[in-house]
């Protein structure tokens, strides 16, 4: 790291610092071009009345689009959907991923095969798996209804993707099916790095398996776990394909991305749609700051307590 003040640095250090900046320039320019410019365009459009079907040049209207956005119950519904989806799906994926990773970490026959097989749901493109689940959850021809009916769990077929009370949970279930392997794999990687000696020591000290898990395993894999959770949470907040393929533009499941796309493309309202997209960006930025801060605080506390 370079010291905050240039004063007192040797000529060599200054030289190195200049070189570092020089090496950074191509990357900074690229990031500005591919990420900064579109983002700035979107924010600019969100301050105008631009429409795709209007040939006139867009006019600057200040924050009007945002004023309409916060008045729209559909937007807040989309925010609620997205946040519930993110919280529930990431919690379930973390829990299930942890259980699966612990099981796969044990020495047993066919472990390699199991690990490979586990990755299949993650390897299928989301649009394909969503379409596949759409058919399996269908109320007339779906295999899920057929199985539940045969088991006597339900008396008549459920319209999983059409019933507003069920649709969001159907989407969560498909996401859990798809993304649990990702969590399991990241956690498994962390588990494999744990040293065996401390477990032997703990066993000699008379610590049971439950105690070993909560007092050794969990604190030790926490950094990796937090990274995985942050990664997944940000991914879940910008979810689009699952909802769009399974339930279309249905208000019962519409995420913030679905809402923004509907206004941008279906309604041709570039200004308002850009405001929604910027809103989505702000929510994700806030979530990132929150998770990173929270994650660090916990990590620090764990280190202090050791």
């Amino acid at each position: 790291m370079v010291a905050p003040a240039a004063r007192g640095l040797s000529a060599l250090a200054l030289e190195r610092r200049r070189a570092a900046w020089l090496f950074l320039v191509p990357m900074v320019v690229t990031v500005l071009l591919v990420a900064g410019w579109p983002l700035a365009r979107t924010i600019w459009f969100s301050l105008t009345d631009a429409r795709l079907d209007d040939t006139a040049a867009p006019a600057f209207i200040g924050l009007e689009n945002y004023a309409w956005l916060i008045q729209d119950p559909d937007w807040w519904n989309a925010v609620r959907n997205t946040v519930s989806f993110a919280i529930v799906s990431v919690s379930l994926e973390t829990l299930l991923g942890l259980v699966i990773a612990l099981a796969l970490n044990e020495r047993m026959r066919g472990r390699g095969l199991l690990r490979a097989a586990m990755l299949i749901p993650w390897a299928i493109p989301t649009v394909v798996s969503a379409q596949m689940w759409g058919w399996m959850l269908h109320d007339q021809v779906g295999v899920v209804n057929e199985a539940l009916l045969a088991l006597g769990v339900i008396a008549r077929p459920l319209a999983f993707t059409a019933d507003p009370d069920l649709a969001l949970w159907a989407v969560v279930a498909v996401d859990v099916w798809k993304t649990t392997p990702f969590m399991a794999l990241l956690i498994l990687a962390a588990l494999q790095l744990l040293p065996g000696e401390i477990y032997e020591a703990a066993e000699i000290d008379g610590l049971g398996p439950v105690g070993r898990f909560f007092r050794l395993t969990l604190p030790l894999i926490r950094p990796a776990l937090m990274v995985a959770v942050i990664f997944r949470a940000l991914d879940a907040l910008r979810v689009f394909d699952l909802m769009y393929v399974l339930t279309g533009n249905s208000a019962a499941t519409a995420s913030m991305s679905v809402y923004a796309r509907q206004h941008l493309v279906d309604f041709q309202d570039v200004g308002f749609g850009s405001a929604a997209a910027t809103g989505l960006f702000l929510v994700i930025a806030a979530a990132t700051v929150l998770l990173v801060t929270l994650g660090r605080v916990r990590l620090g506390a764990a280190e202090d307590g050791r």
């Binding site: 079907d53 209007d54 008045q71 119950p73 319209a159 249905s250």
Partner: protein
Amino acid sequence: MRAILLLIGATLLAPPARAEVTLALSCGSVGIEARLCREGAEAWARDTGNHVTMISTPAGSSERLALYQQLLAARSGDIDVLQIDVVWPGILAAHLLDLSGALDAVARAEQFPAILANNTVAGRLVAMPWFTNAGVLYVRRDLLDQYHLPVPETWRQLTDTARRIQEAERAAGHARMWGFVFQGRAYEGLTVNALEWVNSHDGGTIVAPDGAITIDNPRAATALAQAAGWVGTIAPEGVLNYGEEEARGVFQSGNAVFMRNWPYAWPLVNAEDSPVRGRVAVALLPRGAGEGGRHSATLGGEQLAVSRYSRHPDEAVALVTYLTSRAEQKRRAITAALNPTIRDLYEDPEVLAANPFFGTLRGAFENAVARPSSVTAGRYNQVSAQFWNAVHTVLSDHGEAPAVLQRLARSLERVRRHGPW
């Protein structure tokens, strides 16, 4: 883009020596519609010595609209003549030529007024009526005869008749019998169905032609509450996820007494392999009870329009005039039961011989009510989405009609930003 469109289009050859201009035409891209369109364009090209290139556009209507909007927003002259849906004139008006010069007073009087009004935006006729569509009621004639019941005249009679036959049929061992199926999925089709319920009760057209939001009224609420009462009693709960084809599936298998659908279902329910072949009649949709109650049918259909970015506007208008002419509409009606927009063709003996049910349809077209697409223009898709979501809420029993309509009116105010549309 032009290169791609030319690649997927097929150039139709006219004698090259006489060729003057080449026009690009986008019409139905699949099935008999595509064939009839091509034949018509070929005939015009032969007569005039011009070329016509057929452009294949997506069969799905929202994808096709998106492509049109993209091309027109870029002021592209890649397509000269476009086939457009009945709700698009308002959305695309800014990019289309005024065709009123191509329709004299006599020709104008021959057309259905509702369609001309729909295609007129700010005094400009932006699209020429080509073939039309309107909702009709399909009736199981054999069941009505068996139970000595008349074809229902009002929605209340339909409800009672449907319930009686459904109960009697079920008691007789036909356990999957339902009274009425329609299009209840949250999509444009629900806007179409619900507009018929609301308008037949004299509840207006969501947004009045002058731009006022009129949907929050007691007659509209009555109409929607009545429809909500059907779900789970005379209509299966699955109707909340039915489009046209799902409804036809139930009706054509003999499991429903009544069905609301477009005329396209007529040849299909009477096809060789149809279980209800020869046992079906077509009637006007029922009217609402009380004063002001009337038969309403939502207007559908396709129009031809000329892009204002066309390099050969005169020839393009001539092509549109030819394709929408009486002779061409008659040929299309006889060959493929595509409903003409010229009124007296419904009395033409040759047309009636090919399509005996056309007599009833004429009544439906005279009663046709247009969706508020011309007045709401670019915001129509948004208005329609708000409306079908509100109706779906009422149908699925997640809200009471009066409260939902009040909320809908407020959302529509927001959609139009409290200003003019």
